[in-house]
Symmetry: C2
Subunit: 203 residues, 2 copies
């Protein structure tokens, strides 16, 4: 039966059968099982949320997770309040506000170094199936930490550990070593339209 | 003191003070408090995870959340196992697999319609501070539901309810009514490099 003789329903079925064959082939080819490094970068909203969603998914599989937040907002955040409830989560927040809040490079560097010390321990801990390094890219951009040091710790980590790194301006060397990289663009932002940050929606 | 006479530390401080003034001004201007519609679209990974991270954040603030997943993967997902633990979450999964799994347009349409009936109830429920319509964009792309009907329900929803809509190919009319839109691009994908989906990382 040629395509023009098919009904809409039949065409849909044929299209979907072709798609399934492609998907099945891809799934067959993907046969490696190992931890991956996922980088979420770009100016779009939802990068950190995405990392926290992956934490929720991991907890759904009873995995243990480490989280280091390299940039702390001014206010206590909902995700911190939430994930601290779980004994499977090691949660560490770097003790300072945004760089433009402290306005003190030396203090920022010290705080980044202290947070990185915790992160390195997590990246060396085979009990942690997932490690989230939230806003690490910002810290790398300001050169509070060296990207080489970070890449060395990623390379040496336990084979099955997944790592999620967020923040704008991911350095090219980090993108190079990552397995999955998403670059998100902000098309529209409620905050710019005059909507303020609200409970549950930290714009 | 002119810039060349400043030390690196002083320059940093001056730059950050200018940045803080800009940020403070923006925060002051954003004075509306209302629910927002957030659309997460594009081919990048982590869109649904981002929505689930926002759910975690909302739960951290003791808010009630509705979730409708319009496309269910073949396997039970970690996020479903996790969020079903919370009585504050109304979780509904559309009963069918991917469109290329069923290969049956009529069955897909019926399933989409049933899921949308639940979503409409959630969008009319002022007790729900947040509603996630996961992969709704896919359903709209295949025209299993009309975008006008979706927009009407969004327009009529309780004033303080936040809505997160995910999936590739968000229709232009939906982007038009949304408050915040992130378009994510896939730069690299572990799955394409031969890494298979694993517990906690559904590639």
């Amino acid at each position: 039966m040629t395509e023009p003789e098919m009904t809409e329903t039949e065409r849909h079925k044929a299209r979907m059968a072709r798609k399934k064959a492609i998907v099945d082939e891809k799934v067959k080819k993907a046969d490696q099982s190992r931890g991956v490094v996922i980088v979420l970068t770009g100016a779009g909203k939802g990068k950190s949320s995405s990392a926290f969603g992956m934490v929720a998914r991991a907890l759904g599989h009873d995995m243990k997770v480490g989280i280091v937040q390299f940039i702390k907002g001014k206010f206590a955040t909902g995700e911190e309040a939430f994930f601290r409830r779980f004994p499977e989560v090691e949660y560490h927040v770097m003790g300072e506000g945004f760089t433009w809040e402290t306005q003190d490079r030396e203090r920022d560097e010290e705080a980044a170094r202290a947070a990185w010390d915790i992160a390195r321990q997590q990246l060396a801990n085979p009990q942690l199936a997932m490690v989230v390094l939230d806003e690490l890219n910002i810290v790398l951009k300001y050169k509070y930490l060296s990207v080489d040091e970070v890449i060395a710790a990623l390379t040496d980590r336990p084979e099955h550990q997944h790592v999620i790194i967020t923040g704008r301006n991911a350095p090219p060397d980090l993108i190079e070593v990552a397995d999955t990289v998403t670059d998100s663009k902000l098309i529209k932002h409620a905050f710019k339209a005059g909507v303020k940050a609200q409970k549950g929606i930290e714009l």
